[in-house]
Amino acid sequence: MSRARRTAAFLRRCFCRQQVEDELDEEIRAHFESLVERYAAKGLSDAEARRSVRLEFGGPEEVKQTVREQRVGAVLEDGLQDVRHAWRVLRKSPGFTAVAILTLALGIGANTAVFSIINAVLLQPLPYFEADRIVQLESPGDEPDLLIRYISIPKVMAFREQVQVFEHVALYYPGGGRMNLTGGDRPEQVAGMRVSSEYFPLLGAPMALGRPFTADEDRPGGPQVAVISNGLWHRRYGDDPGLIGRKIDIGTASYEVIGVLGPGFHWDSVDIWVPLRADPNSISHSHDYYAAARLKPGISLEQAASVMKVASERFRKKFPPEESFFGHGFLTAERMQDVLVKDVRPALRLLLGAVGLVLLIACANVANLLLARASVRRREIAIRSAVGAGRNQIVRQLLTESTLLSLAGGVAGLFLGYFGLRALLLINPGNIPLIGEHGAGVTLDGRVLAFTLLVSALTGIFFGLIPAIQASRTDLSITLKEGDTRFGPGVRQNRARWILVVAEIALAVVLLMGSALLLRTYLALRAVQPGFDAHNVLTMGMSTDEPRFYKTAAVAQLVRSGAESIERLPGVEAAAICSSLPLEPIYEMIFTIEGRPLADKPYHGMGAWRSVSTKYFDVFRIPLVRGRWFTEHDDGAGAPVVVINETMARRFWPDGNPVGQRITLGKGLGAPYEESAPRLIIGVVGDVRDDGLNSMPDSTMYLPPSQLNDGTTEVDSKYLPLMWAIRTKVTPYSLSPKIISEDIQRELRKASGGLPVGQVRSMDQVKVGSIARNDFNAMLFAIFAGVAVMLAAIGIYGLVAYSVQQRTHEIGIRMALGAQRGDVLKMVAGNGMKLVLVGLCAGIAGALALTRLLSSLLFGVRPTDPDTFIAVSAGLLVVGALACFIPARRATKVGPMVALRHE
C-alpha cells in the first residue's frame, strides 16, 4: 500500500512536475514569510528581517533542493531533469550538435558495419541444428600444422569407428558440382551435390516433404533417388506436394524425388542432392571427398582429438604413411564454422581494429568540440555552481549531454553503418563466407543493436568525461570576475585539446598508411602478369554429370564437336575446354619420373592437374617455351602425352630438358588415378598464376581430355562442370555480347545433345572475382582512412579557428604594434602545423609498429614500404597545412581596430 503510494507520488512528480514544484514553492515560501513576519514583529525592517531569516535558516531554494533530494526516485528524477536540460542545451546550438552527431555517426556507423559482418560470419552459428557440434574431419598434410579437408575413404572409416565420440559421419563431394535438369521444355543447370546418407541427419536438415536418403539408397548400385531444395521445389515445381515419388530427369537419367527440404535449409546454393554411393570398403588412398561429423552430446573437441590421436596411430600401422598420404600430425576434427571462416577471420579482426581507431578519432574530435564549448560555457557553469550545484551534479549534467549526443550519433550511425554496408556488399560481396547472396546474411539482429548501443554509451562517457571533469574544476571566483573570454581558456585546457588533436592526427596517419598499403596491393594485383590473357575470353560451365559422359570417348567427342561448332561462329577465334579455369580451384596429382630413382617418397613430386583441350593455350595465349602443343592426334589412339609449365621444368629438371622425358601419374594411388602407361613430355609452357594472382605458380601438368582413363573421366564429370573458354574477336561483354554468348550457348546445346550451360562469365570477371576479398578489404580501409583524415582535418581546423577567435584581441594588439600579416599568419598557422608535425611523427611510429599486422593482406609491397610512408606523410602535411592556413588567413584579415574592440 505504501509502496503504491510512493510510486504514485513519484509518477505525479514525473508527469505533473510543474504542479508539484509550484506547491512546494508555495508551502516553503509561506513558511519563510511567516518567519520574516515574526522577525519584523521584533521591530526589524523588512529587509533586515529577510536577511536574518536567511542567515539563520538558509534560503528557500536550498530547502527546496534538500526536499527534492530525499524524495523517492530522486536519482531517476534528476536524471530526467538532466536529460531535459541537456536536450535544451543541445537544441540551442544546432551547429555544434549537428557536427558532433555527424562525427559520432561516422565513427559508430563504421563500427556497426564491421561488427555486423563479424556477427554474421563469426558469431552467428551456422544455420544447422546444434551447429557447434558439427565438425569437419581433416587429415594431416605434408607440412606440420597443415590440415587438409580432402580426405580418403580409409581415413573416413577411421573416424567412423570412433562411435563413442562421433555420430553421423558424412561424406560428400566438395561444392561446385552442377547438374542438368532436363525434361520439360526448360533445361536448367543447377548446383548439385553428391552426399552420403548421413549428410542430412548430420545437419539436422528439416524436411518439408518426404524423407532423406536411406543407407540402402547410398550403396553402390542403389536406386536413383534425389532430394531437392525448397527453392527449386517452389521455382520449378510450383510447390506441388505430389512431386514426392515422381521421377525427374537429371541429364539423361531419371531420378525419383523422395524428399523436399524445409525452406530454412541452405547449403551454398545447392538445389539437388543425390546419393554419393561411395564404397565404404574401398582402400583407395585418393583424397576425393570432404567429410563431416557430429560430436556426440557432451563430447568436447579436445576429447575427440585425443581419441583421434590413438586412432591415427592405429591407422598409421595399418596403412604405411607414404602410401596412404598420411602426413605429419593426426587425423583431426575442427568446428565446421571455424573451418569456413578461417580465411577471413584475421582480416575481419584487422578491420575491427581499424574501425576502433576511427571511433577513437571521432571521440577525440567530439571531446575537442566539447572542450571548446566548455570554455565558452564556463560562466554558465560557474553560475550554476554558485547557486548550489555540486561538482557531481555538474559532471553528471555534462555527461548527460555527451551521452545524449552519442546516443543520437549511435542511432544515426546504426542506419549509416548498416545500410551503408548493405550497399557496399551489393557492389562487392568480397567473397566472404556465410554472408549470403549480396550480404543477405548480414542482418540487423539484437546483437548488432546491443553492440551499437553499448558502443554509443561508452563513447558518450569516454569523450564526455575529460571535458566534464575539467569544466567542473573551474575556479568560481576567477571565472566570474574575469567577465569575458578575451584571454582565452587556461593553459591546462589548451593542453588537453592539443593532445587530443595530436592523437587524432597520429591515429589518422596509422589508418592512412594501412589504407595506402592496401591500395598498393590493389594496384600490384592488377599489375601482376598472370601468365594468361584474360581479355576477350568468355567462359561458361557445362555439367556432364550424367552416365553417358562417364566415358572418355563421349566427352572427347563432345569437346571436339562443341569446339568445332563454336569456332564456326563469326567473332569467335578459338574455343577450348578445361577441367577448371585459371585462378579457380584445381586438384593435384603425384607423378614419378621414368628412369630416376625414388628418394624418401613413393613419388617424385606433386603438381596441379588440368585436363585441357587443344586450343586452351590459344584461348588464354599462354606462350610455348619449348617443344610443341597438343594436336588433334594426341587423342585416345595416340601415345599418352603431357605438357608441363616452366616452374615444374625448373624444379624437376634444373639442368636438363624435360621435353622427351616421361612421367607416370598417380603411381600407387590405385584406380582410377594410377595411370598404366607413362606420358611423354612434349612441351613446356609459360607459368600461369593458377592459385591466385598473389601466389607464385605451382608445378602444373596439362593433359588432353581424350587421353584420360574412363574412371578419371567419370570422377571429373561428377565432380565439377566442364568449363568452356572461348576467345572472341571483341570483348564478350561490349560489342553485341549477348548475341555472341547466345550463339555459343545454342551451338553448344546442339553439339551436346541439349546440355544447358550456366555460370556465363567473362574471364575478366573471373579474374576480378578472384581478388574480390582483397578489393573489399582495400575498399573498407580506404573508406575508414578517408573518414579518419577528414575528422582529423576538422579537428585541426577547429582548433586553429578557435584559437584565432580566442586571440583576436591579441592579434589586434600585435597588428596595431606593427606586426605584418605574414607574421600573424606564421604565428597562428605555425602553432597548428607544430601539432600536425608531432601527430605525423607519432603516427609514423605507430604505423611502423602496426602495419606489419597487415602483412597477410598485402601483396607486392612491404608493410614498411618507404615510398608509401613518404607519400602518405606528404599527403597528410598538405591536408594539415590547408586545415591550418584557411582559418589562419582569416586572422590576418582582421582589422586592428575591430580586433581591439572585439569582446
Binding site: 500500500m1 503510494r5 508551502e27 534538500t66 526536499v67 524524495r71
Partner: protein, 109 residues
C-alpha cells in the same frame, strides 16, 4: 541543537508525536516542538520540510491546504491511520532504547 545532531529517527518521532495531538502547519510544528522541549530541539525549515515530505511519502502524515487567520495559504499536516500505528511502534522502540540507555548509565562503575 545543530541539525546534524538531531537524529533523523528522533525528528520523525517528534513530528509524529506533535501531530498526534492535532493537525498543524509547518511553522506550528516547529514552534510546538521548540516549546515542548524547552528549546532543546529547534527545528529549522532545512530539516523540517525534508522530514515532512519524507513522512508524507511514507503515508504516515498527509498535508492539506488550509488558511491562517491572516489569510495566508499553508499546508496543514495531520496523522494518518498508518502514521498512528507507526507512532505507537516508535514510542515503544524509544522506550526500550531509553530504558536500556538508562540502565547503562545507571550502572555502578
Amino acid at each position: 541543537m545543530a541539525k546534524s545532531d538531531l537524529l533523523q529517527g528522533t525528528l520523525d518521532l517528534l513530528i509524529l508525536r506533535t501531530l498526534e495531538q492535532r493537525p498543524l502547519h509547518g511553522i506550528g510544528i516547529s514552534d510546538r516542538i521548540e516549546q515542548v522541549t524547552r528549546r532543546v530541539f529547534v527545528v529549522g525549515p532545512g530539516s523540517l520540510f525534508p522530514a515532512l515530505h519524507r513522512l508524507a511519502e511514507k503515508g504516515w502524515i498527509e498535508g492539506e491546504w488550509g488558511e491562517l487567520e491572516n489569510g495566508r495559504r499553508v499546508k496543514v499536516y495531520s496523522l494518518t491511520r498508518s502514521g498512528r500505528a507507526q507512532l505507537t511502534q516508535e514510542k515503544r522502540n524509544w522506550q526500550r532504547v531509553f530504558t536500556a540507555m538508562n540502565q547503562v548509565l545507571a550502572e555502578d562503575v
